[in-house]
Symmetry: C2
DNA sequence: TCATAGTGTTTCGTATACGATTTCGTACTC
DNA sequence: GAGTACGAAATCGTATACGAAACACTATGA
């Protein structure tokens, strides 16, 4: 079972409310690329597609707006929010902070079994480096980190981490597609992170390591895409 | 003008949409305590009070739910979410992290004028220590920190900080009411923080200082309320 | 030819209406 | 007397309908 904590992506359709259904359906279409960035989300059309009225759809859209997956403008409508590199930067930076914190808070609660599981995933990733598949690698990457932060006792922080991953998934940059070289380092850093946790390192050290691990990916992306155009400024 | 960047708390009623009006109105009532925690928010009643239909009210409630101000249960209704000490802990901890990060990112962009402004606010706070008024002190406290983090270039992080402050405002614990002793230290730490920023300290140092400043408040609260019952984990 | 005003279409925003679900009270039975 | 079942009231969820705002297009005048 390689896809672990996909959080809210309940595939088995949304249960009760139509709002929920609409939410799940639209979100799925965004993540899988059916609605690509910039796509104009027209309430009536979506409502018809899903066989519901516009009211639940409207609510779903607003929820997605709150998550940052779509942008909404009064009396104009909603569009799938873009791959704007700036957005990517902001999201990654935010995630580096909250994920770092979540991992540090989680660390004391990570047992040997968890470490073993993470290590197994990382082994898969290393193997995956041969015939490199960015999508699969990214999925495994999420699995790996899920093990590390899912024990975070603070639900707010955990929620923020999930949102960050969701956003990244939606603007499916899949980073490693652009910076395949980063994949190698990433796997190594994973192992270092695990050893840090095993050895019972201080939360601060773990937090910094986790944060830098992500920052490094971001930096690699920035260096690659355009050498510094929107870096520090 | 003592109340500065109250972010979303546009007092001049919400302009355009009824949803916005409803949102602002309900939120105001929660923050000012008209709707105290546990209060049952009935759509029809609120709609009538505001002179609108239930649809915009519904949307407003859902927004408030996303912010964590109310809890919503399907087919049952919404209630103002509680002062649950655990929630307070989570919120403060989350805020310590995101606010620390925001302050650090903001630091390089803070000019002499900003520092002066912050120092003025802090002076007011120190003065306020005489005939101590927790509410006023808390308001000034927010003003002070606003100066420090409002320049944060990452809008996502900034938004998270605002949400944190909003939540604290809603569960109006006003901390300093419970731990008046903390107020003194707080003012001193503010000055230290300012000097750190003025001297161009490293972002990491600033981040840690800002984070610890908040953690310390939380710890003081915990030590006070019940000596360690829900401390470490 | 370009700028501007007017008109028409699209799409959102909100009100009203009705069906669905939960909850609470009451009566009945064991 | 206690527990359960039935029914009524309250409240939410969603559909439909209509008004309002924004946008695109066209025609007219300078």
């Amino acid at each position: 079972m390689t896809e672990t904590a996909k959080a809210a992506a309940t595939p088995a359709a949304a249960s009760g409310s139509k709002s929920e259904q609409a939410y799940t359906a639209v979100k799925a279409r965004i993540v899988d690329g059916t609605y690509s960035p910039g796509y104009r989300l027209v309430l009536a059309k979506i409502a018809e597609d899903l066989g519901v009225s516009v009211v639940p759809v409207r609510e779903a859209i607003r929820r997605l707006e709150a998550e940052g997956l779509v942008k909404f403008e009064r009396n104009v409508g909603a569009t799938v929010s873009g791959i704007d590199p700036t957005e990517y930067l902001y999201t990654m930076q935010t995630l580096s902070i909250v994920e770092g914190a979540a991992t540090a808070l989680s660390a004391p609660l990570i047992g040997a079994a968890d470490v073993a599981r993470a290590r197994a995933v990382n082994a898969e990733m290393r193997e995956c480096l041969q015939h490199f598949d960015p999508v699969r690698f990214t999925a495994l990457n999420q699995d790996f980190h899920s093990v590390l932060f899912e024990h975070c006792p603070n639900p707010h922080i955990l929620d923020l981490v999930h949102r960050g991953w969701n956003r990244l998934a939606s603007l499916r940059s899949s980073t490693f597609r652009f910076v395949p070289g980063r994949a190698h380092e990433s796997v190594d850093e994973h192992e270092a992170l695990l050893q840090l946790i095993e050895s019972g390192a201080s939360p601060d050290d773990i937090e910094m390591a986790a944060r830098r691990h992500r920052s490094a990916t971001l930096d690699a992306y920035l260096a690659q895409s355009n050498a510094g155009s929107l870096s520090a400024h």
